[in-house]
């Protein structure tokens, strides 16, 4: 058996020697460099583009803008319809592409462009009380906007204990280490693209429509991807610009976004205001849960983060209501960022649960266990498996939770005030339709092809383990080729669905090949579309519990995190080495958004002002101390053939709340606004 073994990444040697090639590394012969020029206004129209000086400069091949760029066809995603009309919907919208033989020439020529605008007044100021806040038709991706069960207002009015609190989370940017890059090449009407993408097939589909091509005329490859965390989940404007540029100059064009360009062009997590109201008996058992989330979207594309989704599945409550509101502003389009919905939603819900535990005088671990539901609270569906209690118990045991004095602000250690906190986590266990093929080679080896993406998850390795077991051979006899749209449709590496979805197709193809006899030269193909659709309706979720220790210096406002421990029920663990890394990585990003991350909108200009890594702070090595992730047994035969739940996102869910709950325990001050910045700690502490 290979599944369950701790296996060093198959591509590991390439990554530590620099041989691994990312989209911006691909040496396509004769390519030119595209430089993206962004709007400097938040709303209006481009009235003129004077490219005379740019075109006269050495090396410049073309300046594309709305007046001369090749026409695009249709798009599901209007953020991809670049250089098609003079409309400017937000600051940073692409208004030109300069193509030159070197990057230096392209960049300097871009600086000489004279672009005039007709400026219109804009509104980039998000607030929950915005008069244009509305109820969207659905929330991301296709969930209901609202759910109501029972009489929430009535139950709250008569509840023995009520928590009513508002929580805010700021805009956050994914900031994968690899900025988005693509190199596009046209040959005999066929388009080949190397793109930094979490889903080569989804990008191929988008390009096929945009350029009105036959499906077999587009190929997208993403050999290695330098992280994404959601903002490479579907095609982004850079890949369209590369293809437009290549069409215009009749040679391959590479477009690499700069770090600041990512902030307006590739997505971010919307700022969110959440009001959570809990009604409970004095012993902490819930009678009402009301969760209202307000967020922003752009005027290009409606995206509503599914922030209150978590409250539909987490705790038993006779009355339960979840609602979403959104307002369209003149701002860049928010998209997925690691655990969209559950990350901010868990900050509010799991903070509120902590506040309820304090109000009731009940241990917060026990209060959560007391509110375990028998079926999914909002839908009534049975759970395929639910091991949250095991996560809470195992995490508490390993962390040393028992005997904790619940009173706040008691533990002084020199200049540090210490405290501990807990929060629960959940994330949907999704499996999406995918296809895969496996070929028995003449030399006795096997080659698997699946349009998976390995954005750092270890997918390449996990799928090799899965395929080896399905073929009943050692891993060394299997080669898994991924991230090439020619291999057929497959799930995106998103929503923690990748390994669950791809492994299903790989197992199906391998079993079919064995059933056919696996004669050399034969290939078996599988598509799981029907099998995925045929699954019974069940509530399928992964679970986790975070335990965090903080040290707070009330005189500087500094918060340090000596210890984080997460216990997770995430189905079958294919590769414990890389699975642990993913969970720890999620927890690390959770610490980062709890304490550091905040994209600040300057509403006067509609611009995220801190648009680089010096000003948008992500956790550095010195911010992280001890982080450990452990697994609890979580068998579940209602998922997919391997029993995989996916674990790319659950590590971040609940991490911020556990940390904020620990800061309360350390200082007696409740932080309902992220990030927990030093100034907020200082002001709150001195206000006490």
């Amino acid at each position: 058996m290979s599944v369950g073994e701790a296996v060093v990444r198959i591509e590991g040697r390439d990554k530590v020697t620099g041989a691994a090639r990312y989209a911006g590394d691909i040496p396509v012969a004769g390519f030119a460099y595209g430089w993206v020029v962004q709007s400097t206004i938040a709303r209006g129209r481009v009235s003129s583009v004077d490219d005379g000086e740019a075109l006269a400069r050495p090396g410049v091949l073309a300046v594309l803008h709305h007046g001369n760029a090749p026409r695009l066809g249709e798009a599901d995603d209007a953020t991809l319809l670049v250089l098609q009309d003079p409309r400017v919907p937000h600051l940073g919208w692409p208004v030109a592409l300069v193509v030159a033989t070197t990057a230096e020439e392209a960049r300097e020529a871009a600086a000489t462009l004279r672009i005039e605008y007709q400026v219109e007044s804009h509104d980039a100021a998000f607030r929950a009380e915005h008069p244009r806040m509305y109820v969207p038709d659905h929330i991301n991706p296709t969930y209901e906007t609202e759910t109501v069960k029972g009489d929430v207002d009535g139950a709250l009015a008569t509840a023995e204990v009520v928590v009513d609190a508002t929580y805010t989370t700021p805009a956050q940017h994914n900031n994968p280490m690899e900025p988005h890059a693509a190199v596009a090449e046209w040959h005999d009407g066929r388009l080949t693209v190397h793109d930094s993408s979490q889903g080569a097939y989804a990008v191929k589909q988008a390009l096929t429509r945009l350029f009105s091509l036959q499906p077999d005329a587009v190929r997208v490859v993403s050999e290695h991807v330098g992280g994404g965390f959601g903002n490479k989940g579907t095609a982004r404007p850079h890949v369209v610009l590369a293809a437009l540029g290549a069409a215009a100059v009749d040679r391959p064009v590479r477009v690499v976004l700069t770090r600041p360009q990512l902030y307006a062009l590739t997505g971010y997590r919307t700022p969110i205001v959440q009001r959570v109201r809990l009604g409970a008996h004095r012993d902490g058992r819930l009678v009402a849960l009301d969760h209202l989330a307000s967020s922003q979207t752009s005027k290009v594309l409606e995206f509503t983060e599914q922030t209150a989704l978590i409250s539909r599945s987490m705790y038993a409550s006779g009355a339960l209501r979840t609602r979403h509101r959104v307002v369209a502003l003149d701002v860049p389009t928010p998209r997925w960022m690691r655990a969209p919905g559950e990350s901010p939603g868990s900050f509010a819900l799991e903070s509120a649960i902590d506040e309820l535990a304090i109000a009731c005088g009940v241990d917060p671990v026990e209060l959560r266990i007391a509110n375990e539901p028998e079926s999914e609270p909002a839908s009534g569906l049975p759970f395929s498996s639910r091991n949250l209690v095991a996560c809470l118990r195992e995490g508490a045991r390993r962390f040393g939770w028992s005997g904790r004095d619940p009173r706040p602000a008691l533990r002084r250690d020199g200049r540090w005030w210490r405290g501990t906190g807990v929060a629960a986590a959940t994330y949907p266990a999704r499996s999406n339709p995918s296809s895969a093929s496996v070929t028995a080679e003449d030399d006795g080896r096997f080659t698997v092809r699946v349009t998976a993406a390995d954005i750092g998850t270890g997918a390449r390795t996990a799928l090799t383990q899965v395929a080896a077991d399905a073929l009943q051979v050692p891993m060394s006899e299997v080669t898994v080729l991924i991230a090439d749209s020619d291999f057929g449709p497959a799930s995106v590496a998103g929503g923690s669905s990748g390994t669950a979805s791809w492994s299903w197709a790989v197992v199906a193809a391998c079993r079919d090949l064995l059933a056919q006899g696996a004669a050399a030269g034969t290939t078996a193909q599988a598509n799981t579309g029907k099998a995925v659709a045929a699954r019974p309706d069940l509530a399928r979720h992964a679970y986790g519990a975070h335990f965090v220790e903080v040290a707070v210096d009330p005189h500087t406002g500094e918060v340090r995190v000596p210890r984080m421990l997460g216990a997770f029920a995430v189905g079958r663990i294919v590769n414990p080495l890389t699975a642990r890394s993913q969970l720890i990585g999620g927890m690390t990003m959770g610490l980062s958004i709890a304490l550091l991350e905040e994209s600040t909108m300057d509403t006067r200009f509609g611009d995220f002002v801190n648009h680089d890594l010096a000003n948008y702070h992500v956790a550095a090595n010195a911010d992280i101390q001890s982080i450990e992730a452990v697994f609890v047994d979580d068998p579940d035969d209602q998922l997919n053939p391997v029993g995989v739940k996916g674990l790319g996102e659950i590590g971040i869910v609940g991490a911020t709340a556990a940390l904020a709950n620990a800061v309360w325990h350390a200082t007696g001050v409740r932080h309902r606004d992220l990030p927990i910045r030093p100034d907020r700690v200082l002001n709150a502490t001195y206000a006490v």
Partner: protein, 177 residues
């Protein structure tokens, strides 16, 4: 460093023990020279502003952000990139340690992390103190977890592999201490 063409200079560099002489645009960074002119794409561009460390290489044995150095200013220097840290067939001990400890995920920051760690271990051995060194006059710094974390904080990892990166470096640095 003169040339017939305006804005262009001749640069002589030794990269991974191989001498190069080439005409470069004066606006070109050392990072872009490595990537775009020499095809040494193991060195990554994460920010181009010296904020992330993905482009870390060894210049004369010391770690630098190659995006902050103009190629013309590096003429005459010797550069080691991730492609040159092993000895051809054998991996450098840090490269092996990163594999064993899973000290990466997407791998994009990894070449910079490894180059940075190589120089960092030398700095500590030479007694260079850091902000967390208790004794700034010590002849040699012992690289415990706190020292490693402090000294590696110029290399961001967005996947959040820091815990494993520290474990990998401690494995190698511990062997030297």
């Amino acid at each position: 460093m003169t040339s017939q063409r305006i804005g262009v200079s001749t640069v002589r560099l030794v990269v991974n023990d191989e001498p190069h002489e080439l005409e470069v645009d004066n606006r070109m960074s050392l990072l872009d020279l490595l990537r775009e002119r020499l095809g040494a794409t193991g060195t990554k561009k994460g920010c181009d502003h010296g904020q992330c460390g993905a482009c870390t290489v060894l210049l004369g044995g010391r770690r630098v952000n190659s995006c902050l150095i103009l190629a013309v200013a590096a003429s005459g220097a010797s550069v080691t990139t991730i492609e040159g840290v092993g000895d051809g067939t054998e991996l450098h001990p840090l490269q092996r340690a990163f594999l064993e400890h899973d000290g990466y995920q997407c791998g994009y920051c990894t070449p910079g992390q490894i180059c940075s760690a190589i120089a960092m271990i030398e700095e500590a051995a030479a007694g260079w103190p850091s902000a967390v060194s208790a004794d700034v006059g010590a002849a040699k710094v012992s690289l415990d977890g706190e020292e490693i974390r402090e000294r590696m904080s110029g290399n961001l990892c967005r996947c959040g592999a820091y815990v494993n990166i520290v474990a990998a470096i401690a494995d190698v640095a511990g062997g030297r201490a």
